[in-house]
Amino acid sequence: MKIIYLFVEGNTDKFVVESLLKRRLKYRNYVNEKDTPKLLSCHIPKYPGANGQLERRGIPSFLYKDDASILLVSANGKEQVCSAIRERLRVAELQFGIANEDISIAVVLDRDAEMNDEVIKSKLLKQAGNNRLVIEKDILTCEDVRYGFSLCIIPADRKGTIEKVVIDIASKIHPELTNEAGLYKKAIEEKEDYRKYRNKWASDPQIQSFYADKVQVGAISTVLKPDSSPGIMINDILITEMDIDQICELPSIKRIVQYLEDL
């Protein structure tokens, strides 16, 4: 069985990727620890500790289909991706005593403001070096053990983050709602009165526009699923409501679907 540790930047990415894996590629969530391969189950948190800690952090998703199991991890930020990889390989190594080369590492990164894929890759290589990882082509080396490695950058067709993908999907299913939410976003993005809020997001206007996308997704989510987070809305409503083949043909999403199929 293939074991894939799949790392994404944040929770919204995680919900989109998980939804695509389940709807398009027929992955399912493991529902019981005893059915889960040890290379995945070793990442199941055991809470609360004796300190009474109730806060759950960094819980990955555990998915499987016929010949593959995926540990889907949100790194909580682009800059944390390589440290998250290192941490998870350490957990696996502790479980088995030896590093397991059967694991493949997959990474999905947001494009943000950089259209050149090579620039994004070189930044990741630098981050890997800071975490004592070496990435060369399709191999990631950690503590002298080599793992298969692959990288996907989204959206494929333009600058932005995962929210661009979500907005693309929403505009196909709920065009009016997406349009209205877009006007709301525009107002937040342009009105002088809201500058004080925008400045809290980021100082760079281009980065502010990516945050504005989150505002639009939030507005759509509030209507479609008022009592849940945007992530839940993506998983429960957005991707299930539309024909998955149509979604997968969207230019912004086509590349990641192909990437997940090839894992």
Partner: protein, 383 residues
């Protein structure tokens, strides 16, 4: 009964806060205990093969699945030279044997498929103690009363060499186990005692032996001699805040525990309390007798409720610092490891996870920072 009872009701208080404050005070005063052992290398001893425990710390936890060799690590420390008298050494080597029969002894002492067990201990000052244990069996024919009998002999030879820059002369002693008429007798090298030159204070508390009353009394005598009764009272109060004193009473030397309400009811013997309190008392006695040495505790958590663990680990941490004791603790408990992570000072503790690998034992070292990440952040199971 010895001495006059002194019932100190003023000291009958909730222990935890006091102990924690005391512990903090120790840190504030900058009390630093030194680490005695720095590295342990065990080859072909019981289930352990080429198991290396490097960068030992003041508090060392050993985790792993059943039959991974956790208890063997503790036993290897003793077999490797961490003992101050030969009886303790033999007691440890035979502790698992249910009955003194030659086959049992042979299986306990002889490593599987190997002729020699090798244990190397490196001390913090750079000196090393290398020990080799061999077991050989032979049969002798005896003739008495016109009858021919076979006597089976198992000889364990312990050969150790101490080096602190230059190697000293090797010291060797033997122990014979003789089986005759289905009875096994033990005979040891009469020169064994004086050959033990480097005496390391060591105590071993294991789940299988904690019910040995004679052992606990022996350790307790040492505590009385050193006038450390108050420190043991603190342990009893973790489990029963009403306890105000204890005494060894009667010809059969029972431990009687006095509570502040004893005018209303008779005091109880320590045996009448639960296993957790009994075991904690034994561990505390052993700790006080392991000053400037090492304390080995097998499955510390067994019998102790998780709420009492916090206070007890705090107590043990404080005592071990004050008495300069290096701790080696095996456990299956994630709760204990969480308590340990929060109790022991940063950089003071380390966890070794052992696993049987092909041809060698695999030992993974998890330091305090790793613990913070793996347990505190990711919440994963490190056992």
């Amino acid at each position: 009964m010895t001495g006059k009872l002194s019932l100190d009701t003023k000291n009958n208080r909730t222990l935890s806060n006091d102990r924690r404050q005391e512990s903090k005070k120790d840190l504030d005063e900058g009390i630093e205990s030194t680490v005695l052992l720095n590295r342990l290398l065990v080859d072909s001893f019981r289930g352990l093969k080429n198991a290396e425990f490097c960068k030992l710390n003041r508090v060392n936890y050993v985790v792993g699945e059943n039959n991974s060799g956790k208890t063997s690590v503790l036993e290897a420390l003793v077999a490797g030279g961490c003992y101050s008298d030969s009886r303790f050494f033999l007691d440890t080597m035979l502790a698992r044997s249910q009955k003194m029969i030659l086959e049992g002894v042979k299986n306990m002492l002889r490593p599987v498929g190997e002729e020699i067990s090798r244990i190397t201990i490196t001390f913090s000052n750079g000196s090393t103690l290398k020990t080799e244990l061999t077991c050989k069996e032979r049969t002798e024919i005896l003739q008495s009363d016109n009858k021919i009998k076979n006597k089976r002999l198992l000889t364990m030879t312990v050969n150790s060499i101490f080096g602190d820059g230059q190697l000293s002369e090797p010291k060797t002693f033997w122990v014979n186990f003789e089986q005759n008429d289905k009875k096994t007798f033990l005979r040891r090298d009469p020169s064994l005692e004086h050959k033990k030159k480097n005496r390391i204070p060591c105590q071993f508390v294991s789940f299988s032996r904690f019910d040995r009353t004679d052992k606990i009394l022996e350790v307790l005598d040492g505590v009385f001699i050193n006038n450390q009764r108050e420190k043991l009272l603190d342990v009893l109060k973790i489990f029963d805040p009403n306890v105000v004193n204890f005494e060894v009473v009667g010809e059969d030397r029972q431990i009687l525990v006095f509570g502040k309400d004893d005018h209303e009811s008779d005091p109880l013997y320590l045996n009448d309390y639960g296993n957790g309190m009994y075991k904690a008392f034994y561990i505390a006695c052993a700790a006080l007798q392991a000053t400037n040495g090492i304390l080995l505790i097998d499955e510390l958590e067994a019998g102790i409720h998780h709420r009492a663990l916090v206070d007890f680990i705090t107590y043990l941490d404080t005592i071990s610092k004050k008495q300069n004791i290096q701790l080696f603790i095996t456990t299956h408990s994630l709760e204990l490891l969480d308590v340990a992570r929060q109790t022991h000072h940063d950089g003071d503790m380390v966890v070794y996870k052992i696993k049987r690998g092909e041809g060698k034992s695999v030992v993974k070292r998890i330091n305090h920072n790793d613990m913070d990440l793996l347990r505190g952040e990711l919440g994963v199971d490190i056992r």
